[in-house]
Symmetry: C2
Subunit: 303 residues, 2 copies
Amino acid sequence: MSFERVAIIGLGLIGGSIGLAIAEHLPGVTTTGYDADPAVRRRAAERGLAGTICETAAEAVADAELVILCVPVGAMGEVARQIADALPPDALVSDVGSSKRSITRALTEALPGQPVIPAHPVAGTEHSGPDAGFATLFHHRWCILTPPVDADPGLVASLAEFWRALGAMVEVMDAEHHDLVLAVTSHIPHLIAYTIVGTASDLEEVTRGEVIKYSAGGFRDFTRIAASDPTMWRDVFLNNRDAVLEMLDRFLTDLEGVREAIKAGDGDSMFDLFTRTRAIRRGIIELGQDDARPDFGRADHGA
Amino acid sequence: MSFERVAIIGLGLIGGSIGLAIAEHLPGVTTTGYDADPAVRRRAAERGLAGTICETAAEAVADAELVILCVPVGAMGEVARQIADALPPDALVSDVGSSKRSITRALTEALPGQPVIPAHPVAGTEHSGPDAGFATLFHHRWCILTPPVDADPGLVASLAEFWRALGAMVEVMDAEHHDLVLAVTSHIPHLIAYTIVGTASDLEEVTRGEVIKYSAGGFRDFTRIAASDPTMWRDVFLNNRDAVLEMLDRFLTDLEGVREAIKAGDGDSMFDLFTRTRAIRRGIIELGQDDARPDFGRADHGA
C-alpha cells in the first residue's frame, strides 16, 4: 500500500467507517484521527475508529501521507486552513464530500502547492455520528475520484488502490460531471424526501399520528432518507446549487406532466411511465447496488 | 371465526397473501380462489394460495360467507357484476383496494342490497403476481375498514376479527378521510418515485448506466417503490384523483419553497426543515412500522 500513515479528520459515519475499514483491510497502515467535538473524540477512542485520536487537526496530519477530510462540505475550507501549516509538503489531501466542484475550489485555494485529489465514496446510511460507522460500508460501492487536470497520475492510482483495498470500486470523472450525476442520484432524492416528509407533518386534515401509522404504504421509505444528517445536507444544497436546481427543474416539469395526466384521466401515459421505471430497478439489482428481497427483508418485521 | 368460507378474487400479492395467511392462522376456514389469468390460476394452485382454485369468479363465490376482491381498483365494478348473480344473499363483500370512495360506489352500485364493507390492508411490497404473496405480509400492519353509514355493526366487528386473526391491527374511518390519509402516506410517495425515476432515465447528460451505478446515494430507494405494479397504480391515481391532486399541490408549494431557499442560499430554513423531519422517522420506528437497522440491514450487501 502506497500510504502507510493515514489521517482522518472528522469521525462521523464516513470517517469512522474509513478508520474501521483500514483496521480490517489494511492492518499495516497506521491511522490518526481528529474530530472538532470532544465527545466524538472520546467515543472514537472507545470504538477504535483510529489508532491514535489527536487533540488537534494539525497534530493528526503532522506525519500523514494521506489526509482524508470527512467533514460537511461547508467546513472543508476552514479545516484545510487549520491543517495547512502542519501538513507534510508531499502529503496527499483528499475528502469524501458530495459536491466536488466547490470542494476542489476550497481545498486548492486553502492549500496552494499541496497535492489534492477529491474523492466521493457513494455509500452511507441514514445514521450519523461516531457510533454509525462500520468496516464494510464501502464494500461493493463506487468511489468516484475527481482529480484536477494537473493531478499526479501516480497519486491518482495510489488513491484508487487505497479505496479498492477498503472494498470499493473506483471510477474517475471530472468534478463538474460528478456534481450533475450526484444531483440526480442522491441530492434530488434527498431534497424530495425531506420536502414530502415536511409536507406530511404540517397537514391539518391528516394527523401526524396517522401519517406514522399508515407509513408502510410507501411513505416510510422517504423518512429513512429524510433522517440523514441535516448539516451535511444543508451544505450539499448550498454547494451544488446549479446542478441541483437544473435537475430539480427537470423533475418539476415531469411532475407537472404527471399532474396533468391525472387531471385529464389519462391512464395510458401513466401506465407507460410506471412500466418504464421498472427497467432501472432491474439494472440496479443486477449490478448489486440493491437487494431484491421484498422490502429488503423487512416484510416479516413484527412477525 | 365468524366466516368459515372465504372467497378470494384476484390471486396476486395481496390475494395470495390472504390465502396463505388464512391457511396459517385460520386452519378451520376453507378458501376458494379465482384469477382472470389462467397462468395465475395454475401457479396459485401449485402454491396453494387457496384451498380450491375455481375456473370462474361466480363458482368461487357461490358458497362463500366472505368475498374479498383483490383486483386493481379500476376492475372492482366489473368483477362485482360478474359475481352478482352467484353471491349468497347474506355474503359479505369486501376488498383490499387503495381508494375507498370510488370502490364503495362501484360495489354498492353493482351489488344493490348486498352487505358491503370495503377494507384496505396497508401492506405490500414492490413485487406482484402469484409468486409474491407470503403468509406474514399483514403482521403488525394496519388494516383500515371503511364501512358505509348503514353497515351492520356485527359484520364490521366480524371483518375486524378476521383481519386481526391474520396478524393485522384494525382501524375504522370513513372513506373520504381514508382517501386523504392514503394520498399522503402512499399515493403521493409512489407518484413522486415514479416521476423521479422517469426523469433520471430520460437525461442526456447523465447516462442510465451512471444512474444505476451511483444509485446507492439515495435514488435506489425510489426505484423500489417505482417497481410496483403499473396497473394497480394507474387505477389508484385515476380513482383517488381529488385527494391526490390536493396533496400534490401542497407538496409542490413546499418544494417551490425549498427551491427558493436553495436559490437564495438560505441554509437556515433548510437546516430547520431537515431537522424537523427526523421526528417523524423516530415515530415510525417506535411504532414498529419500520426497521432501525441502517439501510434495513442491506449495508453489508456484497460483503
